[in-house]
Amino acid sequence: MTAVPMPVQATRRASSSFWHAAWYRYRKNRLALVAGVIAVLILLVGLLAPLIAPYNDAAIDLTAVLGGAGWHHLLGTDQIGRDTLTRAMWGARTSMSVALGAPLVGLVIGLPIGIIAGWFGGIFDWFTLRLFELFQMVPTILAAILFITVFGVNVWKLALFIGITLWVGFGRLARAQYLALRERDFVQAARALGVSSWRITVVHILPNAVGPIIVFFVQQVPYVIFTAAGFSFLGLGIQDPLADWGKMINDSVTYLPIDPLLVLVPIGCIGLACLSFSFLGDGLRDALDPTSK
């Protein structure tokens, strides 16, 4: 979105390698850089939560219920005396596991199907397109809720169920990429040399198709955070004692008049995570695909 106009000589200087040039373009985009740093920080906090969190995430302290911000609890405590800062850090862990896990599931299912459709074409392509149509028609929320009610829920199941609804997007993207790249000269050359289909699709084409796929992946993260928080809202998401931003909001809405921090902290976390991944995605798109606006 906030594409910085590219000086022409700069592209030429960095044209030694595609990734080099992409990194150069990304660095020039200050907003994307800041967003990237924040996204990495959130991931780090989630990863290191057991080490850096000031309290035990499930420790209940009934002497400090709804204590408000103070020296002992920097961001206050919730209705059963759990430290909000600790819960927010552990929340980063669960929320980010789902937010990255779900697109990963979508990628693992969608990529091979899209590659087969785009590369082999013909009957494979026809069949895959019908499959896309079919899956797009079924209301995703309905399917996900059905899965959750039947199989129960934990962090990885939640990522799996949301991920299953994401695969069509990855499939469509991979198919479009392979359809476009299939006719390019370097692929024709590899074919003429007798390289096997499998090797061409994975070794020769995949590195050329990976840019838009990375961008799409990152763009799914805010969507998954929304959806996962929504499931918490319906009571179908992450369950106690695990901390999750969506659940923190829903648990503490009733205590809003007593301690607004309880709601504002998780809202701030969700907002920060969604914005940073969204701007990171925009920045990556501008960097990896300089022809797009």
């Binding site: 979105m1 079924v138 309905l142 809720i145 059905l146 929504g230 319906l234 909001i249």
Partner: protein, 311 residues
């Protein structure tokens, strides 16, 4: 054109058939059923009576055929959660509410998004552009719409008392749900409008027109927007069925008695007839919107032709 339409409608029917078979099979293949309770287990005889009463004692393929047969007669069955009504009644009473909120949401978010996107593109690289893009994309993508809904209720209903907290009945009840629901589609619309208008603004033919001395106003309305708005049909068209079938989260936040709540309760309680009806509505709307947006695309863009159709 007519034969093309027929062909598309037939393929839609076929996909609908497959979708309902898939959902039906999925519902029935998972263990348990609508009348399997963990507490208060019924006697086998009572259980059997209920199964027969709701047609669940027959084999699954038979149940599907029964459902199709009912459907062909315009009857969607009896919802397990409200056995005194029919699914037809349930939907007829709930969907209008969702449609009103959804229709207003589409009208507001699409017009505003389009307008803001155009303004941002025309004022490209000025503070107006940065302001619009930053504000719109921030409020659109930063928070889930139901969280924004909560905050709005807290501020405008609880603290200030200007608007009702939720529910359905008076005209004011529409305001907050529509605003909260509109933010995300509006942000999408703004982004796509801005991007596609920018792409056209720097096209050679526009530069040529400018060099030729055409007025900016003429360039904008006759040359730029007519081209740039075409891709929006295919991008924003598919969002329409999504919005018209309602948001579970918005309806729960504002306590609207719309269709959205049934998406949750129907799957939670394994209410087969209701689930099938919801799937059918969503899938049919999707399919129709896809066909309509393809046709609209051909009608407004002389460069695109439908496969096998001559104009």
């Amino acid at each position: 054109m007519v034969s093309y339409l027929l062909q598309r409608l037939l393929s839609l029917l076929f996909t609908l058939f497959l979708a309902t078979v898939a959902i039906f099979a999925m519902m029935h293949s998972v263990p348990g059923g609508p009348f399997t309770f963990t507490q208060g287990v019924m006697s086998p005889a009572a259980m059997h009576n209920i199964m027969v009463r709701y047609g669940l004692a027959e084999p699954v393929w038979r149940q599907y055929l029964n459902w199709i047969w009912q459907l062909l007669h315009g009857y969607l069955g009896i919802p397990f959660e409200e056995p005194t009504m029919t699914v037809n009644h349930l939907i007829a009473s709930a969907w209008p509410i969702t449609l009103i909120v959804g229709g207003l949401t589409i009208a507001i978010s699409y017009t505003l998004g389009l307008l803001l996107g155009c303004i941002a593109a025309i004022k490209h690289n000025t503070w107006v552009d940065s302001l619009i893009t930053a504000v719109v994309s921030t409020i659109g993508v930063a928070l889930p719409n139901y969280v924004i809904g909560f905050l709005m209720i807290e501020v405008f209903a609880v603290r200030l008392g200007w608007l009702p907290v939720g529910g359905w009945g008076s005209v004011e009840d529409v305001i907050m749900p529509v605003i909260a629901f509109s933010l995300y589609p509006m942000a999408l619309m703004e982004r796509y409008t801005r991007a596609s208008t920018l792409e056209v603004t720097y096209a050679d033919y526009v530069r040529m027109g400018r060099a030729r001395g055409l007025s900016e106003r003429r360039l904008l309305f006759k040359y730029i927007l007519r081209t740039s708005l075409i891709p929006l049909i295919t991008i924003m068209g598919p969002w329409i069925p999504n919005i018209l079938t309602g948001s579970i989260f918005i309806e729960a936040t504002f306590a609207l008695p719309g269709l959205g709540a049934y998406f949750t309760t129907a799957s939670l309680r394994r209410d087969y007839p209701l689930i099938m009806a919801l799937v059918l509505i969503v899938a049919a709307l999707w399919g129709l919107c896809f066909i309509l947006s393809d046709i609209a695309y051909v009608l407004v863009d002389p460069r695109v032709r439908l496969e096998g159709v001559s104009r």
